[in-house]
């Protein structure tokens, strides 16, 4: 759910940049502390960022026949925690803008807010709340809700920038959310299922490494 | 006889415009051992990926049993059931957690009933000698075992033709011998094989028919015995002569070896050498000396 380069008017671009900057700053400072304590995670974070980029460029088989891309927002939050996701998402979004002309620099703040802050935050929250129902439902809910959150936030961002001439921001939000719901709700379900498949396979493959991450820690604390 | 697989004037360009295949025609007979020879970057992998429909030529035509390839979903499924591809890097091919699970991936996708899937998996694992490791996690296998697991995964779909992309890469001598034994067994059971490699010694020793790929062009197709006639074109493609062949030529030029047909392995070369040469008797030596000839056979070094 990228907002493309130049799509938002200047005041909105600036406002969303200002909204995202503190989280990015905080996430970066936290990351710096974490890497000072565990320098071996530096490379892991870099490779994982590349993984996130590759993931978001994959075609997702869709139930409606069209194809789209997973956001990876939920998986990222489960693997690294919502705070470390902010700088990771920042790098991924910058790369997408510069290497794929997908998204943009003037809309980086807005996109980071929906995909690097709101989405992972909700996904992580959902995972913590639903963890006791079992791993699969919690992962499914986290990934699907993470995906849905990014789309709801994006619709809101667009509605604020382009309020409806007669119905105002609320009508515009209903409009944008309604249009995207057609494709996005099935995609959120598909991403939820996909993330469950990944986490299941990962547990069988690599239970060892998983222990270091929020996903594994949540399992252990259970 | 209709060839099993036939390629006619294939051309293929990458999305960024570079030409990967310029003009490639070849045909593969059923039940034969074939080697695709070429330097790194000549286009071997690209060509193999055309043969089971992973890539579609920009122009030119591919036929299986005389029928043009059908690129519909069902057509591709049928094609890939009959033509299996073993990738160079086993890490890219083994994606299931255990060996048996990975081997069953193809048969399950064919929609076969579980009992048959189980049976095919067992058969394929036995064929490559991995029955004992069926439940082992894939990442605990050695490189050679991974390679054989990949072959089993393709074999379980019971294809008529198996394409192997650089199967010997990274294997040590013992693993290579094991792998060649597996290939020989498959060939004996009538499976056609097409192996890509840049190892001329293996190619010369093992293949019935060789295809030379140079910079995207199929520049030669010949029986292994005809190797000496293809020297010029092989050299142009950067392919050195097989060691056994150059040695035999040197030996026979010097009159030290003769064989009814060209030896293709060192064992065959040794068989073509005369048995222990007897030292000529004194009288003979004198006679030879008189006629101005040095003794034809050097003394055995101590």
């Amino acid at each position: 759910m990228h907002i493309m380069e130049g799509f938002l008017p200047l005041p909105h671009a600036l406002a969303w940049t200002a909204a995202s900057a503190p989280a990015l700053l905080w996430g970066t400072v936290k990351l710096k502390q974490r890497l000072a304590a565990a320098p071996q995670e530096r490379m892991l974070l870099g490779v994982a960022t590349a993984f996130a980029f590759v993931l978001s460029a994959l075609k997702l088989p869709s139930l409606t026949g069209s194809s789209s891309h997973p956001t990876g927002v939920g998986l990222g939050a489960l693997l690294f925690g919502p705070l470390a996701m902010v700088p990771v998402a920042f790098v991924v979004l910058t790369f997408q803008a510069l290497l794929l002309a997908h998204g943009g620099l003037t809309t980086l703040g807005a996109n980071l807010f929906s995909m690097g802050i709101a989405g992972p935050g909700i996904a992580y929250l959902a995972f913590r709340l639903l963890r006791r129902l079992g791993l699969a439902p919690a992962v499914f809910a986290a990934a699907a809700l993470g995906n849905l959150t990014t789309y709801v936030v994006t619709a809101l961002q667009l509605a604020l920038a382009f309020p409806d001439a007669t119905g105002g921001v609320f009508a515009a939000f209903i409009k944008f959310a309604g249009i995207f719901a057609l494709t996005q709700v099935p995609l959120a379900l598909v991403e939820g299922m996909l993330t469950v498949v990944i986490v299941n396979a990962l547990q069988r493959f690599n239970a060892e490494e998983l222990r270091l991450l929020p996903l594994g820690q949540a399992r252990e604390s259970n | 006889m209709t060839p099993l697989l036939e390629a006619r004037h294939l051309r293929y360009a990458y999305p960024d415009g570079r030409q990967a295949l310029r003009d490639c025609s070849l045909s593969i007979a059923a039940g034969s051992r074939n080697v695709l020879l070429g330097a790194n970057g000549a286009g071997k992998t690209t060509l193999l990926q055309h043969f089971n429909g992973l890539l579609r030529p920009t122009s030119g035509e591919l036929r299986l049993d005389g029928q043009p390839f059908d690129y519909s979903r069902a057509g591709l499924a049928a094609l890939r059931r009959r033509v299996g591809l073993v990738f160079q890097n086993p890490e890219a091919q083994l994606l299931a957690p255990t060996v048996a699970a990975d081997v069953s991936f193809g048969p399950l996708n064919l929609g076969l009933p579980p009992a048959e899937v189980r049976q095919r998996t067992a058969f394929a694992l036995a064929a490559v000698g991995l029955t004992a490791l069926a439940e082992r996690p894939v990442q605990h296998l050695s490189h050679g075992q991974k390679k054989r697991a990949c072959i089993a995964g393709v074999l379980a779909m019971s294809p008529d033709l198996i394409l192997l992309d650089e199967p010997m890469a990274g294997l040590d001598a013992a693993m290579q011998a094991e792998l060649i034994a597996v290939l020989d067994r498959l060939a004996a059971e009538g499976v056609s094989l097409l192996v890509s490699t840049h190892d001329v010694d293996f190619a010369y020793r093992w293949a019935d028919t060789l295809y030379l790929l140079e910079d995207g062009c199929c520049t030669a197709a010949f029986a292994a015995d005809a190797w000496p006639e293809q020297l010029a074109v092989l050299r142009a493609a950067g392919q050195p002569q097989p060691a056994v062949l150059s040695l035999y030529q040197q030996l026979s030029e010097r009159g030290l070896a003769a064989a009814p047909r060209l030896p293709r392995s060192f064992d065959e070369l040794l068989a073509a050498l005369p048995r222990k040469a007897a030292a000529p008797c004194e009288e003979c030596s004198e006679c030879l000396e008189k006629s101005g000839l040095s003794a034809p056979v050097p003394a055995t070094p101590t």
Binding site: Q40, L44, L58, A97, F162, L194, L202 | -
Partner: protein
């Protein structure tokens, strides 16, 4: 990564990245400041021409890269044509024409300005610039490793997808989804392996605590910077002039 390989062969590869970035940022600002559609469309055209004739990007390649975001844009502005209210339901928006033209022009101008930068400057050249602008080392390290591994993981992914297709892993939607799950799990495992390998490789060359590389120095940094400054000022002057 078509964009990056075009940039590596661009005629402006050796021009100072700071100058190119400065001009592109001025272009983005101009696009956001311009308030009339003719000006923004004029900007877009100008950036496209500069990219093709200045930086020497073949027009055919420019079109291929640009058609994705511009196509996306064409779809993206469609919702602006309609208005919805609980009482009236769907109808044509009264301000549809002006609003669509405004957004189309602004986004087209901004996108082409960004394309000018990325099609003439490989991403790697921008890392050096970021370092000089005191971007946090943590982010730079992540960017360096991610950029390098992007190429490696993309190749792995393409190989894995082909291997699955060769064994009919994509015969149905459900099969595709399961295959994709297996693929991503494997790729994630590879992520750990690669990270461990890189850690070792960096340590072997005494680089366990940060990634430092020497960058190629542009031939004429000051000349490039002055040209960029003049061009940027002219651009902004024109746009601001049109506003008044």
């Amino acid at each position: 990564m078509l964009i990056d390989s075009i940039a590596a062969q661009s005629r402006w590869r050796r021009v100072s990245p700071a100058a190119k970035t400065g001009f592109a940022l001025a272009g983005l600002l101009a696009a956001l400041l311009a308030d009339s559609a003719p000006v923004t469309f004029g900007l877009a055209l100008a950036f496209a021409l500069i990219t093709c004739y200045g930086a020497g990007v073949p027009a055919r390649l420019w079109l291929r890269v640009a058609c994705l975001p511009l196509g996306f844009l064409a779809l993206g502005v469609l919702p602006l044509a309609f208005s919805w209210a609980p009482a009236t339901g769907w109808h044509w928006a009264p301000d549809a024409g002006t609003r669509m033209a405004e957004v189309l022009g602004r986004a087209a101008a901004a996108s082409t300005a960004l394309l000018l930068l990325v099609l003439s400057t490989p991403l790697a050249d921008l890392f050096d610039l970021l370092r000089r602008m005191r971007c946090p080392t943590v982010l730079l390290d992540v960017m360096h490793v991610a950029y390098r591994m992007l190429a490696v993981l993309s190749v792995s992914t393409a190989d894995m997808q082909r291997a699955q297709a060769a064994r009919l892993g994509h015969v149905s939607t459900w099969h595709s989804l399961r295959s994709l799950g297996l693929l991503l799990a494997c790729l994630l495992c590879e992520t750990w392996r690669r990270a461990r390998d890189l850690e070792r490789a960096a340590a072997a060359r005494n680089g366990a605590d940060g990634l430092r590389f020497l960058s190629a120095t542009p031939a004429h940094p000051w000349r490039d910077a002055s040209i960029a400054l003049v061009a940027s000022s002219a651009l902004l002057a024109v746009v601001l002039g049109a506003r008044l």
